[in-house]
């Protein structure tokens, strides 16, 4: 699904990602973990196209992404959520999700201005699909509420619905569990599994180890921009390098 080859990203003198080789398989839930500053969000931003790659290559279903504009990547089937939510506060929950359907509809200013049949037809499909995704994350009853009036947990679900509305093959979730309570986290886990069952590959960055270990079928561990381990949740939990990266070396502790 997604492959990176010797991917590097530097910000001035700071090396955020250092020769990262990664292969993310289709149809799975993959988690990226690592201490703060390990380069997790940088990786997301490079895949999404927020900033350019310094060196190396990103391939999505075999197509190189390096010089592709962000909005075209979305059309290809890459979707994401943000750590800091970034909902549209000037819209209702439903309109937020409808905006996600942007790349799956075509009609423009002209058809809209004159309310041509094409606009009407597409608008109907868009609102139908948006309602479907809103129901999928369990927010159907809040359709007409302003997005920012919802509590944080529901806002996070709303961003997932909005991302799903782009009808992706590959969904990146940036700390979906942050700020959620135990119950909400369990519901989130179920939702992510359902998304996987829809045939969408999921890549998530998450700090909550219980959530990650219970959810991810594959875990990649980054530290200082490098991959230090990869495997199933059980393998990662036993990996000495990972434990060292998270808790520090024994010598340092003393």
């Amino acid at each position: 699904m997604l492959e990176t080859k010797k991917l590097c990203k530097t910000f001035g003198g700071l090396v955020a990602l250092d020769n990262l080789d990664l292969a993310i398989e289709a149809g799975r839930i993959t988690a990226i973990i690592g201490p703060n500053g390990a380069g997790k969000t940088t990786l997301f931003n490079l895949v999404a196209g927020v900033y350019p790659v310094s060196k190396g290559e990103i391939l999505f279903r075999g197509t190189p992404l390096n010089n592709m504009a962000t909005h075209k990547r979305t059309a290809m089937g890459i979707a994401r959520t943000f750590q800091n939510v970034l909902l549209f506060g000037n819209m209702t929950a439903l309109e937020n999700v409808m905006t996600g359907q942007h790349v799956r509809s075509q009609y423009g200013f002209f058809e809209a201005a004159l309310r041509l049949p094409k606009a009407h037809r597409e608008e109907e499909t868009v609102s139908l699909k948006a309602t479907k995704y809103l129901n999928l994350v369990g927010l159907g009853m809040y359709a007409q509420q302003n997005a920012l009036d919802l509590p944080l947990g529901q806002q996070k679900l709303l961003t997932i619905a909005r991302a799903l509305a782009t009808e992706p093959h590959f969904l990146m979730l940036d700390e979906p569990g942050a700020g959620l309570n135990t119950l909400e986290k369990r519901a989130l886990g179920d939702l992510v599994r359902r998304i996987r069952d829809m045939g969408i590959s999921v890549l998530l960055v998450e700090h909550d180890m219980d959530l990650v270990m219970g959810l991810a079928e594959r875990v990649v561990v980054l530290d200082s921009g490098q991959k230090i381990a990869e495997g199933t949740a059980a393998e990662i939990q036993r990996n000495q390098r990972v434990i060292a990266a998270y808790l520090g070396e024994e010598e340092e502790v003393e």
Partner: protein, 327 residues
């Protein structure tokens, strides 16, 4: 918001407006206020464009008068000096102004916030200087007179009364078109850009392109308004397109309510009625009272008159129905 727009209050305001528009010219109003109404219509056209750009998309423009002036001068020069049919001149003006906005749009919208404001401000000032200095075409600071009236078949728009309907036909058409756009896929994209550019980008919205498109649309609106303006006055000079004019357009948009299409009428009407009618009797104090009124509106109705009055109406109605329900 659009759900609320379709509420009872919204309908009432729209109905009141239409009644007002239809009845006004048949009475004593005709003599005194038709000119005022024509100017309100023309200003509304420009203001709606800025509402789309500023209120919905979140992009400031302090140079809308430049496009207003371009439409005016294209119509004036083509129809007077080159004997082009006024309607064709109007169309050429709109297309040329739109094309100009398109060309400068891409570089200008690489800027954000204050820098964008500065760049558009510069645009307005440059165009104003061009209107003054290209005197072999524009007539310079003295302007040019004798611009023909618009006419359809044998029907000349040679009375104020007729032009009043012409202007408001265009104005309402523009309001309707804008309303349709706001409620569409493109409208959501614009509001998404306002809400969060990063998020809009991640949903596959071509942010740069949408900013330029709405900039072009606002320029075309302003250009059409400029054409109607000169065919009404039959005279054009640079003064109505100076920096102050651009600021007044912003004031109208803000007073009416940036994020409401129909608010543009309220904004344009308030500013024009205040400066053309109500404040005249205060002599040189008018500017101070004017400023005070604008401040009060902003303090008590920060979302503009349209939303402010609607909310006031709903509060009153709620109060009334509650009192009625009491035993």
């Amino acid at each position: 918001m659009f759900v609320r727009m379709q509420s009872k209050a919204g309908y009432l305001i729209a109905a009141a407006l239409i009644v007002l528009l239809l009845l006004i010219p048949f009475d004593w109003f005709l003599v005194r206020y038709t000119t005022l109404m024509i100017f309100i219509g023309i200003n509304t056209m420009v203001t709606v464009g800025l509402c789309l750009l500023m209120g919905y998309t979140g992009q400031v423009s302090l140079g809308q008068a430049a496009f207003f002036g371009m439409g005016a001068y294209f119509s004036a020069i083509l129809s007077k000096s080159y004997d082009v049919n006024p309607w064709l001149a109007m169309l050429i003006g709109a297309i040329a102004t739109g094309a100009f906005a398109y060309v400068i749009g891409y570089p200008i919208f690489r800027l954000r916030g204050n820098y964008l404001a500065m760049a558009t401000l510069g645009l307005g000032i440059i165009m104003y200087i061009l209107f003054r200095q290209l005197s072999q075409y524009t007539g310079g600071p003295d302007g040019m007179a004798g611009i023909p009236y618009l006419c359809i078949g044998g029907f000349d728009f040679d009375t104020k009364f007729r032009r009043y309907f012409l202007v408001w036909f265009f104005c309402l058409a523009i309001l309707l078109v804008s309303q349709n756009i706001v409620r569409s896929r493109a409208g959501r994209a614009l509001r998404a850009i306002h809400g969060s550019e990063a998020a809009a980008d991640s949903l596959g919205i071509n942010v740069a392109q949408f900013k330029v498109k709405i900039f072009v649309l606002s320029a075309v609106y302003a250009s059409l308004a400029g054409s109607l303006f000169v065919h009404h006055l039959r005279f054009v000079s640079p003064q109505p397109f100076d920096f102050i004019a651009s600021v007044m357009i912003v004031v109208m948009a803000v007073i009416g309510g940036l994020a409401s299409i129909w608010g543009a009428i309220f904004g344009a009407a308030t500013v024009r009625i205040l400066s053309d009618e109500l404040l005249l009797q205060f002599g040189s104090w008018d500017v101070i009272i004017y400023g005070l009124i604008l401040m009060l509106v902003m303090i008590f109705m920060p979302q503009g008159l349209f939303v402010g009055l609607k909310e006031a109406y709903e509060r009153l109605r709620l109060k009334y129905t509650q009192r009625g329900a009491e035993p």
